[in-house]
Amino acid sequence: MSLFFDAALILLAIVVALKVVTGRDPLTDVIAFIAYGIVLTLVWVRLAAVDVALTEVAVGSGATGLVLLRAAGAAATAKQEARPGRVTKGLAALVSLVVFLLLAAAVLAWPKPQPSLALAVAEHLPATGLGNPITGVLIVFRALDTLLETVVLLLALVGIWALAPDRTGARAWSGTPAPLSGMTPSGAQVLLAQLLLPVGLLVTVYQFWAGANVPAGAFQGGAVLGAMWVLLLLARLAPLPRLEQPGLAVLVLAGPFAFLATGLAGWVWAGGFLDYPEGIEKPVIIVVEAAIVVSIGVTLGLLVLGPAGPQAADRPGADAS
């Protein structure tokens, strides 16, 4: 019975994926992609990976979908390359089919029992003071990956800001991004933002606090925080940020640099890079994670907002107010 349910879910994912790939209208494709992310979220739950499911729905489907929605409009005006001919399509289909068959064969031929690091994690997790094995892997065992992952986000932000059109004076990327939506928010939207904000903040704090022991964590919490900010921006309850504000920079850098500083401090207090001091691992980890939550939330929001747009003050005869 549950196998039937899994098969139906997978089939749904495949149908939606085909819809995304073969669709003709950018906006419809992007909406189908968001649906794809939600179906995948359910599949992750079926795989007993609740942490991944939370990340998928918040980042993989939500934040990614929001960013893609902003591109759907631009795609309609963009230069269309020639649509591929039948031969290209046939060849592409053939290549894809071969890859599928090879992958399927590899999947079906996996060794039994499956080699796994689950036991190794279970053995060493108590030493970290954490209860959630995935947080343990992310923050302790493979901390270098996670540190660099926050840097990847930072780098993407620098890359996107560098795309701002040149402006005279000040820093090249300064100013405010273009508003998320051209439409005036409706009353319902404003109400939703006001209602959800406290709930979202509560969920953020819960996710990062509980993430030490139950499924959840800094990335998921950060994503919810970012979503709350975007919701406020959409409802025009918060002003668009000025990108050159030092306060904003502090928020963006807090996570990666608190992590890096903790890593370097490890040499002094624990004998190695990214080694946590014995006995107080957990408090240190909580502090680092809190900084990461804030940075991820702000950075995700800024990535969705994009580079500084042409500024009202730049246009002759226009008044910023």
Binding site: M183, S186, A188, Q189, L191, L192, L195, L196, V199
Partner: protein, 101 residues
Amino acid sequence: MSLAADIFTVLCLLAGLVFFAAGSIGLIRLPDPLSRLHGLTKADNVGLFFVVLGLLPQAGSVLAAVKMLLIWLLLQVAAGTVAQILAEYAQALGRSGGGRR
């Protein structure tokens, strides 16, 4: 006692499913965006209510039951707002009556 709870759950879930099915059929069959939204949100909200209601006796603790109710409440708010925004968008595009999309 537990048998009665199970029967209650099954009945509620079935009722919920009927409403979900009705909403989905409405989404496909109704002619214009506004009536589709109307059908979908109404039917889904009630459907979800029955599902949550049915699952309440199965929740191991009071806390879990309260969480489920909160989720239902949250979805009510979200679905209501989204329907409102979609409707305004449809109206702004002048597609409130007729037309495929």
